[in-house]
Assembly symmetry: C2
Homo-oligomer: 216 residues x 2
Amino acid sequence: MAKHKTKIPQIIIRRLPVYYKILKQLKSSSKDYVSSQDLAKLTGFSSSLIRKDLSYFGTFGRKSYGYDICCLFNQIGQIMGFDKQKNLIIIGAGHLGRALAYNRGYQERGYNLKAVFDKNSKLIGEKINNLKVRDINDLEKYLGNTPILVAALTIDNNAAQKITDRLIAAGIKAIWNFTNVSLKTPAEVLVEDQIINQGLCHLSCKLKQNDCLEFH
Amino acid sequence: MAKHKTKIPQIIIRRLPVYYKILKQLKSSSKDYVSSQDLAKLTGFSSSLIRKDLSYFGTFGRKSYGYDICCLFNQIGQIMGFDKQKNLIIIGAGHLGRALAYNRGYQERGYNLKAVFDKNSKLIGEKINNLKVRDINDLEKYLGNTPILVAALTIDNNAAQKITDRLIAAGIKAIWNFTNVSLKTPAEVLVEDQIINQGLCHLSCKLKQNDCLEFH
DNA sequence: TTTACTTTGTTAAAAAAATAACATACTTTA
DNA sequence: TAAAGTATGTTATTTTTTTAACAAAGTAAA
């Protein structure tokens, strides 16, 4: 299926989830096929770019028809590795950690949320979406018994690096970082920084450019 | 302060929040100045790119010293319009809406969280971070009395477009969209899609490329 | 004061990304 | 079966973005 052995350009990786999202919506529509032009309207990318992106991975379209929605959806899922199972834990059972625990969308992406940890004894033992909050002191013991690939970090900034070091020592391969700390990790451990306020930054920036911020 | 009248390239807008985040961390360090090389290490961008990005907005550096951390932090905040006040409401008091209600980081970006709405009568009246959850039926009345620029949308997908239409009719200028729906809005209303699982998609994609997904 | 060093801001060059254009292949209709 | 129409996949072109290079300006040390 993979047409290229070379690394997928970051810029394409960033668009894949957008295609995936749109295709998921289209799946529940009455149509079976979608053209690059339709996708252009829905994504805001040009049809040319969309065809080019998709052709990077193979030949999915059907001339004069477009792309089979279901087929393309599955293909893009596979390209992103959603067909492979990945265990996930959440560190930090605060408001954000809790919201992530209730997040739907893990399963279809191949993620299995296995545990939630916190240091606060008041929270330990509480059930969040059917998962018992575990004691952060038991982290190493747990990771020794259960192979976990990814950890979501929703803890205080000042604890972020320390917990990261422990996670790495225990063999975690990737961190979904919701803290405001720039984590130091070895090159082989992936970090995905999720700047929660990024969207607000963009909006503020664009509102300013549109002169929406003058009097209010 | 603004050097250019032309629109800031999207690609630079995307990097501004990263600079902002790093500078905020640096502010609480002992150093007063930071060089583009230091910033390169912290951001992962090249020092050349950083100098170019910053020079797009003006001349902030000091030769052979680098950039005054506090000064640059404030400048970038201003460039993004954080010095202008923006009222914000949250639609949807579920787990995610709740997490957003507790989000710190509004104030320093010039956002004032003014209200939270929900349709669920069990939630209406409840206090979340000192804000009483309001009845979504009162949305128009509220917006008629209070000027609100931005609405965060943390509701079910199937209600998303309907609520969006109401928000737009009531004069909202920007939507921070956490739903999985591609919202249809007039060109002058900004939409910032926050695909909550985007980070997981990227991680899955990269883990796959690093051959971390084979056996597990 | 002079020399060596540092780091910016900017220009030039290279690389990457996006767009436009179009030949090809398939579909539909007559 | 032929003609008209559609939409892909790919190549060529343009545009954007990034990197590299360096002069200019300031600092620090001798």
